[in-house]
């Protein structure tokens, strides 16, 4: 089975976000970059599929040269080779999906897997748009995946608000992974060492022949307002509890 996993490099979720006035992107110097956590579930699932059914797992990433670090990490987890679409440009989900779909089309895959969303701009669009670009069936927010290689059919459980849905679809298809799908492995040290010998093909975005004009432009970016200082209730427990209930009801409006 030939599996493609789309991996995005994002700022570590513990990063303190900094912005200068007028910026339309966050300050990136000194940021620690990691693999988008949802993409880690995607990588893990692909590796498990490969371990069961054989074949190959190819990593596809888009971004500037720093992205190579995330690619190496995915290779260290056990992916076989990688394709890096290079660009320093600011792009939107549409352009990203077009570029990724183009690369995917060139080689042809049985399955394309990615995270349900990237935790940097939380758009949750790229996986779905890639499926549209390729005209493939898709299932998003997947928490359990069963692939029958013989019949080339997929049975997936996807998470809904307060419920879950089971869908069946044929291969090839696009899957987006949700937390709970699996527990991603740590790369073993021998695999980290082997990763540097694996092939990473670098492809300039401009060479793909896709329209790279973004549809969406960021006009303004601001940090959330600072939270006001906490209120500390004093006095008799009974009084304090009453006051707390009143505040939760009238001010916080949560009960």
């Amino acid at each position: 089975m030939k599996i493609l996993v789309l991996v995005k490099q994002v700022p570590d979720t513990a990063t303190k976000i900094r912005l200068n006035p007028g910026d339309t992107a966050i300050q990136t110097d000194g940021i620690k970059w990691v693999i988008n956590p949802y993409d880690e579930f995607a990588i893990e699932e692909c590796l498990r599929l490969k371990e069961k059914a054989g074949g190959e797992v190819v990593v596809l990433s888009l971004g500037p040269s720093r992205v190579e670090e995330a690619i190496r990490q995915a290779l260290a987890m056990g992916a076989d080779r990688a394709i890096h679409v290079m660009t320093d440009a600011v792009i939107d989900s549409q352009v990203a999906a077009r570029a990724l779909a183009k690369v995917a089309q060139e080689e042809g895959y049985d399955l394309i897997v990615t995270g349900k969303q990237a935790v940097d701009d939380d758009q949750a669009q790229v996986g779905a748009l890639v499926a549209v670009e390729l005209g493939l069936p898709q299932v998003t927010v997947v928490i359990e995946l069963n692939v029958d290689v013989e019949s080339r059919r997929i049975r997936a459980e996807r998470e809904l608000e307060g419920a879950s849905e089971i869908v069946e679809l044929p291969m090839p298809a696009v899957i987006t992974a949700q937390r709970g799908l699996n527990e991603p492995r740590y790369p073993t040290l021998p695999n980290i060492m082997k990763a540097k010998k694996k092939e990473v093909k670098s492809v300039p975005l401009d060479s793909l022949g896709v329209d790279t004009t973004p549809w969406v432009r960021v006009e303004e970016l601001t940090l959330p307002p600072e939270r006001p200082a906490a209120k500390i209730l004093t006095g008799e427990p009974e009084e304090a509890a009453k006051e707390l209930a009143r505040l939760l009801h009238e001010e916080a409006k949560v009960i």
Partner: protein, 381 residues
């Protein structure tokens, strides 16, 4: 000059850090309190390849650098120094002798499984009558027609309770100071191991006494050359010092992080205590010493990777880093005040753990002797 780590080294450090923070951290306090050694964690580290970092792929290692290994020991020790000690002792004292002096058959039989984490490896040098003065070894190995019969005892031996083999030193001559090293497999008749010390710190590392009551090992279980044991273990201890240095950096870094954390939260006299210059100076000194210690440890590791002499630098790094860890953890308790004296916070554990670092694998006094010898100063005879 280039102080950058390689991309591999960065990735190895990150992997070990994630493992330490997510898997090791949750039970660290509990294990310390109950003196509970976790072989399960050690086994997981073996499966992830942590034990094989500095060893060849031929034996299941990953052919990495001593620098990567030092970074890995630091990361584990920052979260749990006891586990860091088990890690460092297993690799530097248990596996290294086989790697350096073992035959291919010995490596195949023992080293591969120790690297994989199937079992641990222990190094038995210290005896009740032979600590700093390892030449005073009294354990004796008598040559027989087909091997050796070992009798004697060892004390304070790390990991021996879960060791698949123990590298034990013994005299092999009644007249001369000839010391040799032997591979003693677990379960050999006459070998008994008891791990019941009640320790000040490093409480969740396994420390054992070992008795050899006419333990027979075949001739091919001699490690390296007969009579060369003293030279061999000096080599091993040189490497081991890098790992104790790295362990010390981990403890010192943990003390520093905890100090900054508390100093920016605890309020007295209407401000955070981190706004008092007295506290700031403590933290600045701590940070400086962590920086120096780490640089010294990595420099010694780098020298070893370049196959250059590193004995002096390793002794200096171990000495400075262990004393820095002791100062840092002591100051961390001071910064926490009364809270630091309580088990609710980890800093008292750092202090108890740090003390071992000035004792194990050569006391601070012995490190100073080693450095002085390296500088050409003779001892009195």
């Amino acid at each position: 000059m280039n102080f950058d780590l390689t991309p591999d080294e960065v990735m190895i450090r990150q992997t070990v850090r994630d493992f330490a923070e997510n898997v090791v951290a949750p039970g660290a306090k509990d294990r310390d309190e109950k003196s509970e050694f976790s072989f399960d964690l050690m086994r997981q580290m073996g499966e992830l390849g942590f034990f094989g970092i500095p060893f060849s792929e031929e034996w299941g290692g990953s052919g990495g650098t001593t620098v990567s290994y030092a970074l890995a020991v630091e990361e584990i020790s920052r979260i749990d120094a006891s586990l860091g000690l088990g890690f460092a002792a297993h690799v530097s004292l248990g596996c290294s002798p086989l790697n350096l002096f073992g035959t291919d058959a010995q490596k195949h039989e023992y080293l591969t499984r120790a690297i994989a984490g199937t079992y641990l490896a222990a190094f038995g040098l210290t005896e009740p009558g032979a600590g700093s003065d390892a030449g005073g070894t009294a354990t004796f190995a008598e040559r027989t027609s087909d091997g050796w019969v070992i009798s004697g005892e060892k004390c304070y031996i790390t990991n021996a309770g879960h060791a698949g083999y123990i590298v034990a030193t013994a005299r092999t001559s009644r007249e001369h100071r000839r010391i040799s090293a032997f591979i003693v497999p677990e379960g050999t008749a006459g070998l008994s191991v008891r791990c019941a010390y009640n320790k000040l710190g490093m409480r969740s590392s396994e420390t054992c006494e070992i008795h050899f009551d006419q333990v027979h090992v075949p001739a091919d279980h001699l490690l390296g050359e007969e009579g060369k044991g003293l030279h061999q273990f000096l080599d091993i201890l040189d490497g081991g010092r890098i790992s104790i240095g790295a362990l010390s950096v981990g403890v010192a870094q943990a003390a520093l992080d905890a100090s900054i954390d508390y100093a920016t939260q605890r309020r007295q006299f209407g401000r955070t205590i981190g706004q008092f210059q007295a506290i700031q100076f403590k933290i600045a000194d701590m940070a400086m010493e962590v920086e120096m210690a780490r640089t010294m440890v990595l420099k010694a590791a780098w020298l070893k990777d370049q196959h250059r002499p590193y004995a002096k630098e390793a002794a200096m790094a171990k000495l400075f880093a262990s004393e820095a860890a002791m100062r840092a953890s002591n100051q961390a308790v001071q910064i926490y005040g009364g809270a630091g004296y309580m088990k609710d916070y980890p800093v008292e554990r750092y202090l108890r753990d740090a003390k071992l670092l000035e004792i194990g694998e050569g006391t601070s006094e012995i490190q100073r002797l080693v450095i002085a010898r390296q500088l050409g100063l003779e001892g009195d005879r």
